[in-house]
């Protein structure tokens, strides 16, 4: 698999570390149901067959966390943007 890093160009997936779902938001710890929200945030994951937005860290490159759009059925990667940059990967 090859990931188009916005800083380094298209690079082999070996250079990256995977984290998972990039659509999750860290819950507000002050909220009433914070414990349940954190439980969901840490442990519960969807496993979609198809489009997935996920975190990849370019460990052997620019050390940026990237938001990558990948189809879990085909491994087709349609885009990647740096975490700090607003916008959708694809």
């Amino acid at each position: 698999m090859r990931i188009p890093c916005p800083y380094c160009g298209e690079r082999d997936a070996h250079e990256f570390a995977y984290l998972g779902d990039a659509t999750l938001t860290r819950p507000d710890p002050a909220a009433a149901e914070a414990e349940q929200a954190f439980h969901d945030y840490v442990y519960l994951r969807d496993n979609p067959a198809g489009a997935h937005e996920e975190w990849w860290y370019h460990a052997n490159g620019c050390r940026q966390w990237l938001r990558v759009a990948r189809d879990t059925r085909t491994h087709a990667i349609s885009g990647a943007v740096a975490a700090r940059v607003a916008g959708e990967p694809a």
Binding site: R2, A17, P29, Y57, I77
Partner: protein, 990 residues
């Protein structure tokens, strides 16, 4: 040396008769020529029996002339280079080649275990499942050893492989797989357009079918045409031709795996050359031009040596100038095989009989055959064969049966396009009725198929199709493709009547020659209900040998279809998975073997430590000094105890550069640290360091370390050696993903700074002689952190930290000064008896002091478990805080961190021992925790331990059992506070 070559034609072929090559098979010496494969050279010398079959030990001969070979598997070379299961048909001959037949005992000619074939009724389909189910205990003791002896392939070398293997990466616009007519044209079309082209072919001679073609192409003999094409391709600056290279897999994003057999055609690799090279080829587009594989017809006795694919007979005659036999017959269902035989006959191969299952065959073929004196039997079937190696056939015709003398039977049931690579992304081949074969279905993105691989048969059509597909690939990438002059070759019409199995034949009729699966086995699978192709495969093992059923899958499917009455596409298809051909483990491992499996990192003081006599040990990715033995010390324990005592009484030093070091700069570093550590950092003063604990978001401890504030907006953090990369990645995640609004920049500086810990009551005296500035207790108090210089101007960071419990410092200098700093400290400390110590002594002192380390930071412990509960701030949020408050993580019954001492001080403690109440049975229900770390304390004169036990801190003074079933030991221990030395911390503040 036998010089017979009695089956060699005197002229023709792509061999160099001026370059004879000596080789041996089963100890007998023979001669072949450059350009031979092992198979062609054996046939030239009249060797027809080359192996015994996998299950029944039946004699087998050479069946094909390519990668599809199911029978002619041999052991190549000897000793450490012995390589089993090598296909003789693709083994390039070299001078001195040694080969041996496999799976025979005591000899190839007389095989005691061929008795197996009398057991055939019992060894049929599903025999593993039926015969050996019961009793279970018999499996290991009886069945498996017998099966391993009787059924099997070659023997692997028992010594380490002396050769090395490389990995390499290549990039191209268009990868062309296969250098036959379609592949050559595709490469030429793309190459002339200026695209970066890689043309890969598994053969040592590119050209594919052109090299076995009797006719002319473009007014030249076909092989000469191929050679000209290759020469032009090699002259193009953007084209790379890779021979002896098999593309074996299609991976994601246009990544292709290929194996280049760099030195397999040599007795041993040339100096500094690898045996094989594993390529990762990144291609924007790819053209699969892998050709097609001929398939046989199944009939009784079809495995007898001398039965061979018709195309293989053609290849041996045309390319290698070898006659596979002196009395050749053909059994076929298609016109192509007739033409192959007529061409072979014209080249000097004595073809005597043509047997065709069809009653109607084109008149031009039958007339041409009869004109050559070849007997033609149409509407006829071979029902039996005779001879140890083939001597005769029984043929059933409309008028009865007759015996025909033949030493070679060419067989052709049609051709199957080599669709393998098109399936590697899950695409299913599609049945094409017109050619009675599977053709590519949905292909991996960027891959298109040209020529016979997609069912385009005929040389002229393949040339044209290759040119078109190659041009299309280049155009899709934006290249302008100049018009290509494709030679016209008139193709005869394709004519085939599907025919798979001679049902009335006598004797075992093999579908899968490599796994010894017969037509009868397919029938048994059908009767027993294993009718889907996936079940058929697993039940009979059809198609599951190393040839992946290249010559058997479709036939097996067709036989099953005829039994169920369904069509072939209804019965199923076979999906091929990587690798296309076997890939050696050596190539996959590459240089990652032995000590190079995972290269070790060396500390900046490695050479210095070696000069001091250090014994090294791998800790994670690092090679570190374990201890420094001196003459007369009887064991490591004496050495380590001496090192500990010297530090506690005087002073010692150790390289701690392996800790992760992270530089943090920006306005918001304090706020950031507050969010990643459980304790507060915002108020940390410039010039001070603080110990911190980090959690994972699930509430478990991730890591610990100290962070120092060097300037208002400049901090430096240390992590444990093991977690350095993980913590850095975590911090980047926090900054980039969670809190991008914070003004913090991170940089890993682990490699840039050497860091040496100096510990012991005389540490300040030593440091004062090396540091350029004031290091008094006032200038550098406990937990102080200052920047300055040492050794007369070398930039340094001085930290007053203690892991040992003694007065301690850590001195960081740019990595290149690490060894110089160690030497300077040794010199300065000479009069105080300074002692270099290793990580064993470091570990002993931290256990004596009661610090946690990797054993306690196991990923299953909370801050509360480890005694850091009160450090956790309640005034701020931090990573892990919410989930650390879960009931399960705050349960007061959780095992918590304490110390242990043996009640009998002469007893040794063992890490890993579990704690049980006195008198309680060793059950899971009674388990209260376990010992995490132990050491012999020279300070106390007995063993001490650290561990986690239920409600530990409330149970100081209580005695429990430390139970170690692994070593069979059990000992009574007393729970104590985790600091065995100077619990008030007087020494480190002194």
């Amino acid at each position: 040396m036998s010089t017979s070559n009695r089956n060699r034609l005197t002229a023709g072929g792509l061999i160099d008769r001026a370059r004879p090559l000596g080789f041996s098979f089963d100890g007998t010496r023979y001669r072949g020529y450059e350009g031979d494969t092992l198979a062609s050279a054996l046939l030239a010398n009249g060797v027809r029996l080359v192996g015994r079959s996998f299950k029944y030990h039946r004699p087998r001969g050479i069946f094909s002339a390519g990668a599809e070979e199911p029978n002619a598997l041999v052991e190549l070379r000897s000793g450490a280079r012995r390589e089993p299961n090598s296909r003789a048909t693709v083994t390039e001959l070299y001078d001195g080649l040694e080969a041996a037949s496999q799976n025979r005992w005591p000899s190839l000619a007389v095989d005691a275990l061929s008795l197996n074939r009398f057991l055939q009724p019992f060894l049929g389909a599903g025999f593993y499942y039926k015969t050996f189910m019961w009793p279970a205990a018999f499996w290991e003791k009886l069945y498996e050893p017998i099966i391993r002896r009787a059924a099997g392939l070659g023997r692997a070398a028992e010594e380490a492989d002396p050769d090395h293997y490389e990995k390499a990466t290549a990039f191209c616009d268009v990868l062309v797989i296969g250098a036959g007519p379609a592949g050559l044209m595709a490469a030429l079309a793309a190459g002339r357009a200026g695209a970066r082209v890689i043309l890969a072919d598994e053969d040592f001679l590119p050209g594919g079918g052109l090299n076995a073609e009797a006719g002319d192409v473009g007014r030249k003999p076909a092989p000469a045409f191929a050679a000209e094409m290759v020469a032009e391709l090699m002259s193009l600056p953007t084209v790379r031709v890779m021979t002896r290279t098999s593309v074996f897999g299609v991976y994601d994003s246009g990544t292709y795996g290929a194996l280049e057999r760099v030195s397999d055609h040599l007795p041993e690799p040339a100096p500094f050359q690898p045996r094989q090279r594993l390529w990762r080829i990144i291609a924007r587009r790819a053209v699969l031009a892998a050709g097609a594989t001929e398939r046989p017809i199944v009939f009784g006795g079809n495995d007898r040596p001398g039965v061979m694919l018709a195309g293989a007979v053609g290849t041996y005659v045309q390319r290698h100038a070898v006659l596979p036999g002196q009395k050749i017959a053909l059994f076929a269902n298609n016109d192509g095989a007739w033409r192959e035989m007529l061409a072979a006959h014209a080249a000097g191969a004595p073809v005597e009989t043509i047997i065709d299952v069809r009653t109607e065959v084109a008149a031009d073929l039958t007339q041409a055959a009869r004109a050559e004196g070849i007997r033609v039997l149409t509407g006829a079937q071979v029902i039996a064969t005779a001879g140890k190696t083939l001597t005769g056939l029984t043929v059933a015709t409309a008028s009865g049966t007759e015996r025909i003398a033949a030493d070679t039977l060419a067989v052709s049931g049609g051709w199957s396009p080599s669709v393998h690579l098109t399936c590697h992304h899950g695409g299913k081949p599609r049945w094409e009725e017109a050619i009675a074969a599977f053709v590519p279905g949905t292909c991996p993105p960027g891959l298109s198929v040209a020529g016979a691989a997609k069912g385009v048969f005929g040389l002229g059509a393949c040339l044209k199709d290759g040119a078109a597909i190659g041009a299309e690939a280049a155009q899709a990438l934006g290249f302008t493709v100049p018009a290509l002059d494709v030679p016209d070759v008139a193709d005869a019409p394709f004519a085939l009547t599907p025919f798979w199995h001679v049902e009335g034949s006598k004797g075992a009729a093999f579908v899968d020659l490599q796994n010894d699966v017969t037509a009868k086995d397919v029938g048994i699978a059908h009767k027993e209900g294993f009718r889907s192709v996936e079940l058929l495969k697993r039940y009979t093992t059809l198609g599951m040998a190393t040839d992946q059923g290249r010559t058997s899958n479709v036939t097996g499917l067709a036989i099953m279809a005829s039994l169920t009455g369904a069509s072939i596409p209804e019965t199923g298809t076979t999906i091929f998975r990587p690798p296309y051909t076997p890939v050696s483990m050596g190539a996959l491992a590459g240089h990652h073997r032995g000590k190079d499996f995972r290269p070790v990192r060396l500390t900046p003081t490695h050479e210095w430590a070696r000069a001091q006599g250090a014994v090294f040990i791998e800790t994670g990715a690092w090679l570190r000094a374990q201890y420094f033995p001196r003459n007369g010390e009887k064991d490591w324990l004496e050495t380590v105890s001496r090192e500990v005592t010297s530090v506690r009484a005087g002073v010692g030093l150790i390289d701690v550069s392996t800790f992760g070091k992270i530089d943090l700069q920006g306005r918001d570093v304090g706020a950031f640290l507050d969010r990643v550590y459980i304790n507060g950092f915002a108020a940390l003063a410039v010039g001070k360091a603080r110990y911190g604990v980090m959690l994972r978001e699930d509430g478990m401890v991730m890591d610990d370390g100290t962070t120092a504030r060097l300037a208002p907006e400049h901090y430096v953090m240390t992590t444990t050696t093991a977690n350095a990369a993980k913590v850095y990645q975590h911090l980047e995640f926090c900054l980039q993903v969670l809190w991008p609004e914070l003004d913090v920049a991170l940089s890993s500086v682990s490699e840039q700074w050497a860091q040496i810990a100096l510990a012991g009551p005389r540490a300040r005296d030593v440091l004062a002689r090396v540091a350029d500035g004031d290091v008094s207790n006032a200038a550098l108090p406990f937990m102080g952190a200052i920047e300055g210089t040492v050794m007369g101007g070398v930039k340094a960071r001085l930290f007053r930290l203690s892991f040992s419990g003694e007065l301690g410092y850590e001195i960081a200098v740019p990595a290149r000064f690490g060894a110089a700093l160690a030497q300077a400290l040794m010199q300065a400390g000479e009069e105080f008896g300074i002692t270099p110590y290793g990580i064993e002594a470091l570990g002993v002192m931290r256990i004596e002091k009661g610090h946690v380390s990797g054993n306690e930071l196991s990923g299953q412990t909370t801050a509360g478990d480890l005694g850091f509960g009160r450090m956790a701030s309640t005034k701020k949020d931090y990573i892990g805080r919410t989930l650390a408050a879960r009931p399960g993580l705050t349960d007061p019954d959780r095992p918590a961190f304490v110390g242990f001492r043996p009640v009998d001080p002469s007893r040794r403690l063992r890490a890993g021992a579990h704690f049980l109440p006195l008198g309680a049975a060793p059950t899971m229900a009674n388990d209260q925790g376990y010992m995490t770390s132990v050491a012999y304390s020279p300070h106390l004169g007995h063993w001490i331990g650290l561990g986690l036990i239920t409600r530990g801190p409330e149970r100081l003074g209580e005695r429990v059992r430390a139970y170690d079933p692994v070593r069979g030991e059990e000992i009574e221990v007393e729970i104590c506070a985790p600091g065995f030395i100077d619990p008030e911390g007087v020494r480190l503040r002194g």
